[in-house]
């Protein structure tokens, strides 16, 4: 009985399948037996394979041969990546520290209140002195557009910069593996420890590691929550075990999510879970800078042998030291070319450069290159890359929209809805009365009194109780009704344009207008 089918089992059982395919191929193509390829997997390097092409690309045998060579990382083996110092390693530390804002941001205070708070409960966002109410939410959609376009533009120029340098998954995995390295030692020690039977020392190390991971995970959960409610109040409630169900659920979800995604799933998240990894793949084209192995310079690769000077001249610069694979957090071999596992973090560049320095060859065997450069095509300028320009264009439009929105927010917003049934009422003295519902939004911190006035409209119109001050509560929309009465003989048409204005009684500069109509009988 074969084991139940699953994707994982499919790859685990691929030896069976390979045999199955191979036998099938033997039957069909007796002159081109892929079973010979088994020789290749037993220690003959890639370069030799290329010298003696067993399988022509394009035919079915070639396909299976590639399958043979291609390692699909399904997470069976934990990747213990080596840490090597270098330019990109330092850069990564700097960009990753961007996430300190997540942890520290909520503790900033501004005028006695939390400076940065996405107060979803009260439907307002506070950003220092600025309060964004639901009425301004269109700016948030522009902000999302801006961020998406920034991602697209950056990706089209320099590939997955977000994945490699900024992504929370990358950052947290980096942090978790850093802790792992401090406790359990270098990758070799870690592999040995994983294979060793459980004893006191191993248990102690593992327990400490998981405790620290969980601590960071809990801190992450707390830090996420306190962006949405007052940080100090939340900490108080937390320490008194006085959290609401939704807070507990959120905290548990983020804690476990962080713990498992960063502690266990790691690069599997990038490979099989994350949609952005795949989306960004299609943003790249032949003009995009990606970490690339310079095949022309590197091949044929081979170890340096002492005293073999004649042979050395034929060899490329790659000495097959596997440092680039060992430092890779997702476990890919960059020498196989750009691939979906590559988060373009540049750590293999550091590794390779350090080796090149040691063997006295120029740096940059692995470097940021475009596909055009690899193929020897002339390098194009940015302005010859219209897709990027379109991204930047949309990005700028969104940015202008946000700046306009922020600078034109105003403290007072007015909406006037004319009554629809009846459109007008004839009063006992024969005049025509219209009813309007005013909705005034006060975005300031205090309540204000406003008065209503009108421009345009019908000659001789009266705003009933127009001078009466209306109290507008702060932070929300207050509604009140206004009646306008006008003599029928002054009506020139069925509808007359009228502009209403509300004005703060104490500060005439704080005002808002709204255009609407005065309706009379059909004529």
């Amino acid at each position: 009985m074969p084991p139940p089918f699953s994707l994982l089992n499919f790859f685990r059982n691929r030896d069976t399948l390979r045999k199955f395919f191979a036998e099938e191929v033997v039957q069909r193509f007796p002159n081109n037996n892929p079973l010979d390829v088994d020789k290749v997997t037993t220690g003959v390097s890639m370069s030799e394979l290329e010298k003696t092409p067993k399988a022509e690309t394009g035919n079915v045998t070639g396909l299976y041969t590639e399958h043979e060579e291609w390692v699909v990382n399904m997470g069976e083996k934990t990747i213990h990546a080596k840490r090597m110092p270098g330019f990109f390693r330092t850069l990564k530390y700097i960009t990753e520290s961007f996430w300190l804002i997540l942890f520290l941001g909520p503790y900033l205070r501004w005028n006695g209140k939390q400076a940065l708070m996405l107060d979803v409960n009260d439907r307002q966002f506070h950003i220092f002195g600025l309060t964004i109410l639901p009425q301004d939410i269109w700016m948030v959609s522009l902000l999302l557009l801006l961020l998406a376009m920034t991602l697209f533009a950056v990706t089209s120029v320099a590939s997955r910069v977000f994945c490699g340098y900024f992504c929370f998954q990358t950052t947290w995995v980096d942090l978790f593996t850093w802790i792992e390295e401090k406790i359990e030692g270098n990758p070799n020690a870690r592999h040995k420890l994983d294979a060793a039977p459980m004893d006191g020392a191993k248990f102690g190390k593992k327990a400490l590691k998981h405790a620290l991971w969980l601590l960071i995970a809990i801190l992450t959960g707390i830090s996420v929550i306190i962006w949405f409610e007052d940080a100090f109040v939340f900490w108080g409630n937390l320490l008194h075990f006085n959290l609401s169900l939704i807070e507990v659920a959120t905290l548990i979800a983020f804690t476990l999510g962080t713990y498992f995604l960063a502690g266990f799933l790691r690069e599997q998240t990038c490979l099989w879970l994350c949609p952005y990894a795949r989306i960004q793949g299609v943003m790249c084209d032949s003009q995009t800078l990606v970490p690339t192995y310079d095949e022309k310079r590197g091949e044929p690769r081979g170890r340096i042998r002492k005293g073999a000077a004649a042979e050395e001249s034929k060899q490329g610069d790659c000495i097959d030291c596997f440092q680039c694979v060992q430092v890779c957090p997702t476990g890919v071999d960059i020498r196989q070319g750009q691939q979906l596992g590559c988060i373009t973090c540049g750590l293999c560049l550091d590794a390779c450069d350090s080796i090149m320095d040691k063997i006295g060859r120029p740096r940059g065997l692995i470097r940021y290159m475009t596909l055009d450069e690899v193929n020897g095509l002339p390098e194009k300028k940015l302005y010859q890359h219209p897709r990027t320009l379109v991204y930047i264009g949309i990005l700028l439009i969104a940015l202008v929209g946000i700046i306009y929105g922020l600078s034109h927010m105003g403290n007072l917003t007015l909406r006037v809805a004319p009554e629809r049934q009846p459109l007008f009422v004839r009063m006992s003295d024969g005049s025509i009365q219209n009813k309007y519902t005013f909705k005034v939004l006060n975005k300031t911190a205090g309540d204000v009194q406003v008065k209503v006035s009108a421009e345009g409209g019908v000659k001789g119109q009266i705003i009933v109780d127009g001078g009466k001050p209306q109290l507008i509560h702060h932070g929300k929309a207050s509604a009140f009704t206004v009646f306008v009465k006008a003599p029928e003989e002054n009506l020139m048409s069925e509808t007359t344009k009228i502009q209403f204005r509300v004005e703060n009684l104490d500060d005439p500069n704080m005002k808002a207008e709204y255009d609407t109509v005065f309706t009379g009988p059909k004529r």
Partner: protein, 324 residues
């Protein structure tokens, strides 16, 4: 069809091969799938015990399931009641205040009157709009009454013409106690020519200019200036608002047959008493009074009742009676 029936690669197939090389594996469904199927089967049984879709008769009753443990049997009506309770709880803070307040005090309180303006809409639509029209725009007679009752079925409520007065208290009185219009038929009192003459001057808006107006006793109800008396609900004949048909023909009909006069052709104008009907609570009638007032035609009280005074008055109903 191929003659290749080999079970290749050690992977068992059904042995059925078509299109040269396509075969079916005989793999079991995945374990997670089988587990899911089993769990679903068990869940169906549990769910059926909780909420049976087929009623089972036991001793003359339908067994309706055990419901959700801890919250008992489910029924649509109890779910509705629970939902309504949520709504009532949200409204309670206003409704409780309304109980002890006079309509004038409610009107004076900006927050409460805004609440009434929002929540009174359903009340008005359910109880008033049939005659007074949606939003109090009035309803023009139709059908078999169209001839006899030409004009409005009930007064427009959003203008500022009131038969019995437009202060919020009078409106409240009208709702609680009802009103009955009264105008005698004049077909036996006045000659056709006199009725013509009077109707013409009323239609012109100047009834007092006609000597017949005082002579025939119209002033008794409509006043010497023809502006009506709100105490008895007689119409103002000089303004631009017509309770009934405002054409000379319509006015003639009103004068000839009267209003609620017992004549078969008389106009009918009856506002039922909602206290007698027992359909609405005190608070609901107060809300309606404020709601109608806020249509835009309400007459402000001579001295608007300050909130404090109204609150004090509501605490001591006896004192209120004396003050009136």
């Amino acid at each position: 069809m191929s003659d290749n029936h080999n079970s290749v690669g050690g992977v068992p197939t059904t042995g059925h091969v078509w299109d040269d090389d396509l075969g079916d594996f005989v793999n079991q469904p995945p374990k997670w799938w089988m587990l899911g199927l089993t769990a679903s089967t068990i869940w169906v049984c549990v769910y059926w015990l909780m909420y049976p879709s087929v009623p089972v008769a036991i001793a003359g009753h339908h067994w309706t399931g055990i419901g959700l443990p801890g919250s008992g049997q489910w029924s649509a009506i109890s779910e509705l009641a629970a939902d309504q309770k949520v709504l009532d709880d949200a409204r309670a803070k206003y409704e409780d205040k309304l109980k002890g307040m006079t309509p004038a005090a409610i009107l004076a309180d900006a927050e409460l009157s805004e609440y009434v303006a929002r929540s009174g809409k359903v009340l008005f639509s359910d109880n008033c709009a049939a005659c007074h029209g949606q939003n109090g725009v009035g309803t023009v007679q139709a059908g078999k009454f169209a001839q006899r009752e030409k004009g409005l079925m009930a007064p427009i409520l959003n203008d500022d013409d009131w038969l019995y007065g437009g202060t919020v208290d009078t409106i409240h009185e009208t709702i609680t106690g009802g009103r009955q219009g009264m105008m005698p038929a004049h077909k036996d009192v006045l000659s056709a020519a006199e009725i013509d003459s009077l109707a013409a001057s009323v239609a012109a808006g100047t009834p007092a200019a006609n000597p017949l107006f005082a002579e025939k006793g119209c002033t008794g109800c409509h006043g010497e200036d023809g502006k009506g008396m709100q105490a008895m609900g007689s119409a103002n004949l000089t303004d631009k608002i017509w309770r009934f048909d405002g054409s000379p023909e319509g006015i003639k009909q009103t004068i000839t047959y009267g209003v609620n006069s017992g004549d078969a052709n008389a106009r009918v104008a009856v506002m039922p008493s909602f206290t007698a009907a027992g359909k609405l609570s005190d608070v609901q009638m107060k809300k309606l009074a404020v709601y109608v007032y806020k249509f835009g035609g309400g007459t402000p009280a001579a001295a608007p009742a300050p909130v404090e005074a109204a609150a004090a008055a509501s605490e001591a109903p006896a004192a209120e009676a004396v003050a009136k």
